[in-house]
Amino acid sequence: MHRVSPRALWYWAVKAAVLWIVLLVPQAIWWVADGDGTRLPHVIVGVAWLVLAAVHLVVMPQWRYRVHRWEATDTAVYTQTGWLSQERRIAPISRVQTVDSERGPIEQLFKLANVTVTTASAAGPIKIDGLAAQDADQLVADLTVRVGHTTGDAT
């Protein structure tokens, strides 16, 4: 059972930070623009937000890193993901339809990539997040060979 790359810790944190900034910027503008009267409510809400964001940014990546696992054998692909809510997904290689690798801007920053394996079911895609780029390439190559050996239309 493999763990994901330790760099994924930073990747998850930065991704979450981007989200928090998107949420916080309009609020900050509102706090500045809303000049009249007391500032106390704004300060309280702002501090609450910041504490929440800080806890999330520290706890979530650690927790995820402990949970996330993946494994690809000759016959099946397995992942374990999540933190508060966790999910394990298994798909047999014989039912795999596409293998897909992707590198977003933040992932490129940390030399990471993700691999998505889809089956004929709309509910079944298996996504392995936070792989080191060369591991992802290797995995895609391996899976492509294994999937090529199976027959049938995989439904």
Binding site: M1, E71, T73, T75, A76, Y78, G82, L84, S85, Q86, E87, R88, R89, I90, A91, P92, R95, T119, A120, S121, A122, A123, G124, I126, A154, T155
Partner: protein, 515 residues
């Protein structure tokens, strides 16, 4: 005008130039169908003229509608189709010519529908289902073939003769070998089943639609509703009577209307219903009073069945049966009806038909394994939490926004109702693995028993929330290529979930999970 030809089309082109057109009679039908869309503006303009008010919106809509009618005419000249030994192709479009090519071995269902207009002109619409997960492209639709052609196409596509596919086809068109296939009728509508109609609540939707139409008409024609005698009088009468009486009167009116509309809906949709099995390996569903619909499902695409019992229907011991098959999408607009194997009917009949369809009665009658007290407790926790939240919100409105107190008192009935629901939800919960079938049942407002072939399971998802982990429960989800794509066994104890997943698909989970 250029023709967009994709590479796959090149490969199959020039086998023969068998491009065919829709029936010319469609020229009469398309404009009338467009006219139907114009009904609101037409009525609005008429009312507007009579009242002496000017309604610009109506005239605009008429102009746009005129263009629509012209396009309807053009559709006949721009649509053509052909069937080669390996592919079905449809060409359409005026400015953007598109050629849609579907390999014949990917065809999973063929659906022949004729509405009243179609039937007057002896036409039909053929929809070819390929079961792609690509949601945007809706496959091949040919609107306006002559009924005879549609039947031939139907047979041609599935390589199979279908006797009496369309009852009102001119006998001359019917091909001679139609009689050759043997057909077993599995179920046919019994007139007494119409009594289940009122319990389907489809009439509530009718009320919604009528309200929508009414408000649109009122808007476009600028009529003051309160000046109409009947409306005025009834509003005055309701105002004059005490509040509880008024509420009762309105509720009674809604109930009566729902019952009537649901019954009419049942008759319109399911009249002449017949489910039959052909020796060539297809299931055939025929139904409809005004709009007739013929659906053919290849049995090798069938992955299981669903026995669905909405609360009211369950109260009168009724149930419906739906097919789980690849190529039949569930719950999407007009396609939704495609998977019906039995309309609301007595439960015993439904169980019997479902068992016959899958060729094994056991999965439908087998006793279910319960999920235990911890799963039941979660049902109650959810019901209570939800009702408390709603009550608090209502209370906040009463205290802060000055909503009346009776709203709060009304909200207090939620916890007992929620508890009743929780009891029923806990009672519904269960699963079992019989010989080659995964059976799971859940739900209260609509209780569904899913029966899925274990070899149709193409993966497992096991989700656990923080709360589920604390009590050792997992939601086991079987993913599949048919129907809803995923079927859940909610809140099953961890060990039991893994046991089921391992037993259903041997050799898969063992590599990753110990007991």
């Amino acid at each position: 005008m250029t023709t967009a030809v994709d590479p796959t089309e090149q490969a199959v082109a020039d086998v023969d130039d068998g491009w065919r057109r829709l029936s010319p009679r469609m020229l009469a039908v398309h404009p009338v169908m467009e006219l139907r869309r114009l009904i609101f503006p037409l009525v609005a303009v008429a009312i507007g003229l009579r009242n002496g008010t000017d309604s610009d919106g109506g005239w605009w809509a008429l102009g746009i509608g005129g263009i629509g009618i012209t396009l309807g005419f053009l559709r006949y000249f721009t649509t053509s189709y052909r069937i080669t030994a390996t592919h079905v192709q449809v060409r359409r479009g005026l400015f953007r010519r598109r050629t849609l090519t579907v390999p014949r071995d990917r065809i999973r269902t063929v659906d022949v529908t004729s509405n009243v207009l179609h039937r007057i002109f002896g036409l039909a619409r053929v929809t070819v289902g390929t079961g792609q997960t690509d949601k945007r492209n809706d496959g091949v639709k040919l609107d306006g073939l002559s009924a005879g052609h549609a039947e031939n196409l139907h047979r041609e596509l599935l390589h199979r003769p279908t006797a009496e596919a369309l009852p009102d086809v001119d006998p001359g068109v019917r091909s001679p070998h139609a009689e050759a296939s043997s057909e077993t009728v599995l179920a046919a509508l019994h007139p007494a089943w119409v009594r289940y109609g009122p319990f389907t609540l489809s009439g509530l939707i009718a009320i919604g639609v009528l309200l929508g139409i009414g408000s649109r008409l009122v808007n476009e024609s600028h009529v003051d509703l309160t000046k109409i005698r009947v409306v005025h009088d009834s509003i005055e009468y309701l105002r004059g009577s005490p509040l509880p009486v008024a509420i009762l009167l309105v509720a009674a009116a809604v109930v009566v209307f729902t019952v009537i509309a649901s019954t009419i809906g049942y008759v319109l949709t399911f009249w002449n219903f017949r489910l039959s099995r052909h020796s060539s390996g297809t299931l055939h569903v025929r139904r409809g009073l005004l709009t007739t619909r013929n659906t053919t499902i290849e049995e090798r695409r069938l992955r299981g069945v669903e026995l669905s019992e909405p609360l009211l229907l369950r109260a009168v011991r009724g149930a419906r049966v739906l097919a789980i098959a690849t190529g039949l999408r569930v719950g999407r607009g007009a396609d939704r009806g495609g998977s019906v194997l039995l309309p609301p009917a007595p439960r015993a009949v439904a169980v019997d038909v479902a068992g016959t369809v899958i060729g094994d009665a056991d999965p439908l009658t087998a006793a279910l394994i319960r999920h235990g007290p911890r799963a039941s407790v979660r049902r109650f926790t959810r019901a209570v939490t939800l009702s408390v939240i709603v009550i608090l919100i209502v209370l906040a409105f009463v205290l802060l926004a000055g909503a009346p107190w009776w709203a709060f008192w009304t909200a207090l009935v939620l916890p007992p109702l929620g508890a009743l629901l929780a009891v029923d939800r806990a009672a519904s919960l269960g699963h079992v693995l019989t010989d080659g079938w995964l059976v799971t049942r859940h739900g209260s407002l609509v209780r569904r028993r899913y029966v899925l072939r274990t070899d149709a399971v193409i993966g497992w998802n096991m989700t656990t929330s923080l709360f589920q982990r604390r009590v050792g429960l997992t939601t086991l989800v079987a993913t599949t290529a048919g129907g809803q794509q995923h079927y859940a066994v909610p809140d099953v104890p961890d060990a039991e979930g893994i046991r089921v997943a391992r037993a259903a698909v041997p050799g898969l989970l063992e590599q990753f999970l110990a007991d």
